[in-house]
Amino acid sequence: MKTICIKGGRIIDPSLNRDEIGNLYFNGDKIIDESDASNIEYFDAKGLLIFPGLIDLRCHINDLSGGNCENISSVTRAAGAGGYSTVVLMPDLNPIPDNPATIQFTRDQINKDAIVNIKLCGNLTKGSKGKELAPIGSLQNAGVVAISDSPVSTQNNQIFCKAVEYASMFEIPVIDIPRDLTLSENGNAHDGPQALKMGLGGFPRIAEELHVQRAISISRSLKSSVHLSSISSIGSVEMIRDAKKKGVSVTADVTPHHISLTENNISDFNTNFKTSPPLREEIDRLHLVKALMDGTIDCVSTAHQPITEHLKNVEYDLAPSGVIGLETSLNISLNILKQTKGFTWLKLIKIMSTRAAEILNISGGTLKKGSHANIVLFDPLKKWKYTTKNGNSNGKNSPFDNMIFEGKVVETIINGEPILNYKKFISL
């Protein structure tokens, strides 16, 4: 079998703390050392950045809401275009993954249609209803890498506590979207100055913070891990930072929209800015960015949530929350983080890839010898305009429609196969 050498690119591999111009070799679906290479074909990657495929810890295809918006094929095309080699699908699937049979069904679909790696997240409770524990051990045997009721937040403390305790036996991560529903029942917007003017509101910071504290207390007392997804408030950041200092095993992620947008973006009732948790104030945004840089928040997850246009194009309070993000996540994160002190590409790729692999305890996020050849080629100078119209996701609900970016994923290699048909790569 021919070895391919990606030659002369800037290789960024957080797992080896490697950032240098060099050559990367792969043979079949595995990355190999130069010394093991023979029959080499070269691909000139001068001027390109080469890094491990991105990993999205939280992605929805939102299959349950009706409208048949996204499917395995479209979501993986969007992921590939955005540089993601692995996405973890949340359990809002149809059928719902609360038992091994439905998981097998979804895996069959994945095997048929996916062009990037898909991992599944099983339900924490049966039917995501929050009442009875799902068969977590059996779900793990069926292949799920995490459990969660995302995007639903488990409200019952007893059930959540037992789920964490039970899951720890299998060392399977529990993902929680921190939200107390009694405090955020009609949570259309952040309870801040902007929403106050607009007559909206209903999702105060404390609704999130109470459940962040719950996760910290449970994790601390049971000595088990909990992953908190979509952190949005300054108070949550402070609690997580303190907990980590004390050695509590909580991890956290933030979305690209929460580090780049604020409540001011909803001022004209555009439902493509309606998210859950809601966009908050500038002070929250600044602290989220800082927390990402200092490691308080571990990684960026897209919370990609495609919603059919006719469901989103309604009155603001009637529109479902959620935005798509797979194709813009890397560029948004790059734009925001490169302005911060201490930015390095190693840190960015760690946040976008390596750290998620560690939290989920899955392979990936590395270009080490012997690992799967999941590789991104990124042209840092290429300018492009993102439009939902030409986007790969079937969802058009992006807050970043028509944005012009500098830097573009030009090829994503999945298990040794380039999937974006980058011209130069094909010309090999």
Binding site: L196, K197, G199, D317
Partner: protein
Amino acid sequence: MEIPTWKKKNLIGVQSLSQSEIRKILKLAKFFKKSLGTKHNHLKGKRIVNLFMEPSTRTRIAFEVAAKSLQADVISIAEKSSSLTKGETLRDTALNIQALGADAIVLRHSSPGASLFLSRIVDVPIINAGDGAHEHPSQALLDLFTLEESIGSLEGKKVTILGDILFSRVARSNFWGLSKMGAEITFAGPSTLVPKSFESMGAKVSHDLKDSLSEADAVMLLRIQHERQSSSHFPSLAEYTRIFGLNKSRAKWLKKDAVILHPGPINRGIEIDSELADSDNSVILNQVTNGVAVRMAILSLCTLSRIE
């Protein structure tokens, strides 16, 4: 009188109006008020559709009377009689109304931003007759009109708005209108319905009735909508009346010539004593009459607007 040039097709809120635009509306309303009862032909042959998705008596009838006084054809649609009960969306209902030849749509809806949403979908003028807790511009404009009529220029005047501010579109629209006209606004009431965060808009916030009344040139009472809030926002109507109800003895805290407004419907004996509502200081019924004149001005300006 000729209808002055007007470039805004839609009336979504007072927040987006300038002081001079407000003055233009009030001036035209003054003209219509002088000739109330006479028919004008400014909207002859025009079709105004009242699309009311929430209960309303005063506002709906005032818009209807205003439109008819301008010789427009008026069609009123209420939620219960429309296809929205069959699951049709607001978007589709409005597109159909437009296709049937409406020249303007007056919309009352429970969703904040509903009028703005609709204005992006249809081409005909949208006049917001109340959208959730967002805005109720025609109410605020008629309140401004009534206030100027009773206490003169609003520059430097102090106005206290008392009651359920959090859920009130009237309070918000009045805040924008009054502040654009140079008045100082105090929001008063229980801390759960008048959170301190309103200070971010530029209003004063008070939970002390005496304080908030003693310097006011006008006090605007809002209906307590106990049916709308869960009981978590305040314990009971009786408690509200005991702490924040405006009665005769508390009215003594007011300046002698301070005026009392209320957008209606009034809960007599709850937010205001019956006697006070009917007293010389009350301009509550003037508000109703002025509501027709102000809405005549709004309808003619928006329907005949010239977009450049």
